[in-house]
Subunit: 214 residues, 4 copies
């Protein structure tokens, strides 16, 4: 077969990223998840991708699995920002070894994409790339990543390899990512790798969408 991608002289539009900071803390308090997402944003910027960061706890995201849960629901406006993004990053702290309740809430609201699958078999999220950023005092990043990967995959997102930026301290440590100076080079490497792969995949999907159901 020949190339899937019709080449033309016109440049592709720039990619856009949206990152949810799913810290349990109010926006005004410093969060390690926020520090990690700052590093992710910088890495994305180096690829020419602008990142919109949402501090989820500052919004009233009602419980439910529809795209609009009625009066007072801040999700419809956030959903519009998801729709405008090519790359969606779920940033979560680790509590009890698991993703935060706020990360879970954001994912639940995207469950509506399943009901919104088109007649062509594609969800509104098809073509978007998912990624994860996780920090904790100790232990749990890979599991938090795994839970979020599974949810994002079910919800129509694609995942490039090594789709997680993360840091955790040693067992029973109380270290905080936001206080690490400098961030360990191996952590910066993982962040840059995650971003490099996500950007590549997002560009491919921008140029060549998943096919509709025959």
């Amino acid at each position: 077969m020949s190339s899937l991608i019709a080449t033309s002289g016109a440049p592709s539009p720039p990619l856009r990223a949206l990152a949810f900071n799913c810290s349990l803390k109010p926006a005004q308090r410093p969060s390690s998840t926020g520090a990690m997402l700052g590093d992710v944003r910088d890495a994305l910027a180096a690829h020419g991708v602008e990142t919109d960061i949402v501090h989820a706890a500052a919004h009233n995201i009602l419980p439910g699995t529809r795209s609009d849960e009625g009066p007072g629901d801040d999700w419809p406006a956030l959903r519009a920002r998801v729709m405008a993004a090519d790359i969606v990053v779920i940033g979560s702290p680790i509590w009890i070894g698991q993703p935060s309740s706020i990360a879970k809430r954001v994912l639940e609201r995207m469950d509506a994409f399943i009901a919104e699958t088109g007649d062509d078999g594609r969800m509104p999220s098809y073509g978007k790339v998912g990624a994860v950023a996780v920090v904790g005092n100790e232990d749990g990043a890979h599991h938090v990543g795994g839970e979020i990967y599974q949810a994002l995959n079910d919800l129509g997102f694609s995942l490039a390899p090594n789709a997680m930026a993360y840091w955790v301290g040693a067992a029973r440590s109380a270290e905080e990512y936001r206080e690490l100076k400098p961030v360990p080079p191996s952590t910066m490497d993982a962040t840059q790798l995650m971003v490099r792969n996500a950007v590549h995949l997002a560009r491919l999907l921008q140029q060549s969408a998943y096919p509709p159901k025959a």
Copy 2:
């Protein structure tokens, strides 16, 4: 930017798939995982993709995390078949709600890809698409999928949306997928969706590899 993909008159080589049947049963006994992988193979064939199916329990895959664990190890030959594939499907039954020990063994052996990361920051598996096929009497497919997604993602595979073909019966059911006549249309739909997306992503990555570390 212009297209990532250099178009030429030459056709792309056909895609190849490898599926591991990680049933606990010997190859000669009928397995529901095998029945599901047969459906996956048929769906891949409709896209012109040939599938090589490995009954993992019929091979002596030694414990360890290196690409060759020494005398008697069947993994090096299987690894060569992984390397030849564009799409790798992990087919697992559900036991105690979790992936089989044999699925875990196959994934562990691919852990060697991490140590084999090139100076350019890419694992030998980069460019391959992962997928999952799961069957069980009851309950557990999404978790089995989630565990395998996380492992495949760590190990360098890309995941298209809805990367799992699956079937389970109702709570505490003893039904067997291989005895369902016909397979429920919603299950066939999920299988075809998984395959359609995986094939699209594999073609994109065949034409445009993840970039090396700068």
Copy 3:
């Protein structure tokens, strides 16, 4: 050694249970999680145990991991009800194969027990028995159970064998537990088994507490 339990003529006080309904729905809408918790309550009543059911979504449980997150926080009153219970049941629906955000919120608030560990090495929750009740249209009960078991275990609860009452339909089913008439006998058996074991363990721990740190 002789018996751990000092026998006396005085009867033990009756056991009390608290169940959280972690449905995403408002309290006034019928929920399958609520139907399952009704069955759990009936089974507990047959053992002389009274059950207090909390519809968590009807309370303003603020995000955080302290026992009191300040003005407007309904958790301190709920925490007092947890403290009064011998058996704590987390009832969760399954969304995207995972526990609900509300179940996660309830567990996060009990994370404070870790910081409240006494000088004797025991958390405020020591001596309490945890249990799980899960319902979903399809697939995911064992994983939801597993996530909640791990959290409850970290948070100081004990688990009797088969600590989950559950029901799910077959793959991609849209059946609702609350509409099943009758509930399948195998589901009722599992519910009664969960309750029988939890009650036995709670009585043992009521009579003989975990020992303090030497």
Copy 4:
């Protein structure tokens, strides 16, 4: 009610523990899982409990979910040692953030307990206490614990609070538990806590079994 436990002048028999070392390495190579199980054994000995340690990779545990998978199967002899134990510890390394394939194999073979449930509704494992010991270079202990808790709970074991002894290094660390000198006090504390609670629960269950189905 009065005490569940009939007191008598006769001392209870001593408790016995069985620990599976589910390292991927041959028995003759030093393993961090083995080092952790040595610490668990010492902590159990301080409570008068003798521990039988099985290096699972040194046995031919055939794939399957029956108590005897036929000629060459070493499980029947290991199963007898499980049956003789009051406390069963699953010791697993972390690979790709998950339990080892060998830990999974051991758990799968205990799946037979479900089919062996007596007419009284009790599995052969009822009355036994489960526990977990996990080590890894980095990240994953709580998830490995969670997977094993869920399996052990399904398979009839009881879990005391804080049922996991564990150690992991910081993100992307290559430290080995067996080379830590000394083991961090917080890790020794967790190991002793796990053991203290498991022993207490095992003594209670030795004196007062879960009741049969009415």
